[in-house]
Amino acid sequence: MTFTCTAVRDALLEHRGRAERVDSGLAAHLAACPECSAFERRTVGLVALLSTLPRRAAPSELAGLVVAATQAGHRQERAVEALTALSRLPVPSALERIVAEDRPDRVPAGPRAPAVLERLVDEDLRDPAAAISRRFAGRLDRRKAPGTLRARLTGAPWSSAGPRAVRLLVPVAAGALLLVLASVLIFRRDQPGSGGVDEYQVVYESSLESMDPMARGLLSGLSGGVPDVQDSPEFRTDGGGK
């Protein structure tokens, strides 16, 4: 029997490189065909090489893992059985009526849109910027007027005209008081036994402009500069301020 190279190589693979022992015709082909002979050598070497792979024994922990796997399988199967055994709940009798009533044109119960909504939407569509401004401006907090505003508007003593007159009267009164006190002191020194020899002259002034400059400077120092205020119209800037 003659063999093709393909048939010889298939036979070598099937018989792990020992095909010539199965059929004498193969041996004759191998002897005559160097390619197939080389293939045989490589096959024998490869089989020998693969057969050197050591066999791995199953580790001892495999048994425990298999037990866990089988129990897990049991639990899984029991869970499936329990789920499939669940009784089917009957359809509630009201369901059919609810579904029948649920027409598309049926308005569901619940809060209704206020009537003003239509106007607001219309305004928004006509002039969006103005609508937005109104909407947000309406949300601003309202501030209460301070109490002093009411006092100013009702003409209380501390109205806008009051403080200016007071500012003019105070230095005059203070100056007069100072002169009175000074004259009292001078008068006491002139009494017998006081030892005073100086003479003093008491002058009553009715306005700042007519006062002696030294007296005015003294008065200014004592009163914090208030007498220096010029109450003439050319010095007014904003309704009475300096």
């Binding site: 190589r9 298939d10 693979l13 099937e14 020992r18 050598r41 490589r42 096959t43 024998v44 070497g45 490869l46 089989v47 020998a48 090489l49 693969l50 057969s51 050197t52 792979l53 050591p54 066999r55 791995r56 024994a57 199953a58 580790p59 922990e61 495999l62 048994a63 893992l65 298999v66 037990v67 866990a68 796997a69 089988t70 129990q71 897990a72 399988g73 049991h74 199967e77």
Partner: protein, 202 residues
């Protein structure tokens, strides 16, 4: 009805309520645990994935044994589950595949290599270190095969299954077994010829 050496044990499992790793299933487990683990180890290439695949194999076998109808040998059925579980786990943990090749150096549970001494042209590697290195190189060559060719190589050259058994296990024809093994052989020949030159005197 074909003659299956495991028929009695399998039927015993099918006739009794499942009770974990006990009774007949325990006997089947003891009979197949090393073979299953070995197939899983060579297909996944590392101990961690092999353990996961073995666990999954026996878990599936336990759950499905009641549905087994002896249309193939029980061993073929178990091998098929192991091959599919290994390929699936290998696919899922593909990223750590090459990184875990060091795991193949573990000495625990390793039997002595079954060196084919029938051929006078081959010689044993001189040292254990060389043997471990050789195993790594062979394992890496197997790992570079496609999953289908890897499975058929392991079943053929590691588990020594016949063409018929491989066809039954993988649910493929004999012709497909031959062509797939031929392609696997070519790929391994390319990969392992340098290894042969290094480790064996030819």
């Amino acid at each position: 009805m074909r003659n299956d050496p495991d028929r009695t044990l399998v039927e015993s499992c099918q006739g009794s309520s499942p009770n974990g790793l006990q009774g007949s299933f325990r006997a089947l487990y003891e009979h197949y645990k090393d073979r299953v683990y070995n197939v899983c180890y060579r297909i996944t290439g590392n101990a961690t994935d092999a353990l996961d695949a073995s666990q999954e194999t026996f878990g599936i076998a336990f759950r499905k044994i009641g549905e087994f109808r002896f249309e193939s040998k029980f061993s073929s059925w178990v091998y098929r589950i192991a091959v599919n579980a290994s390929i699936d786990i290998k696919r899922r943990s593909g990223a750590r595949w090459l990184a875990s090749l060091d795991g193949s150096r573990e000495a625990d549970g390793v039997e002595l290599p079954r060196v084919d001494l029938r051929d006078e042209r081959t010689e044993l590697p001189p040292a254990a270190a060389s043997r471990h290195e050789l195993e790594d190189e062979i394992q890496q060559a197997i790992s570079r095969l496609s999953p289908k060719m890897r499975a058929i190589t392991v079943l053929r050259y590691v588990e020594n299954l016949s063409y018929d058994e491989i066809a039954e296990t993988l649910h493929i024809s004999i012709g497909t077994v031959k062509s797939r093994l031929s392609r696997a052989h070519q790929a391994l020949d390319r990969e392992l010829t340098p290894v042969l030159d290094r480790h064996y005197l030819r």
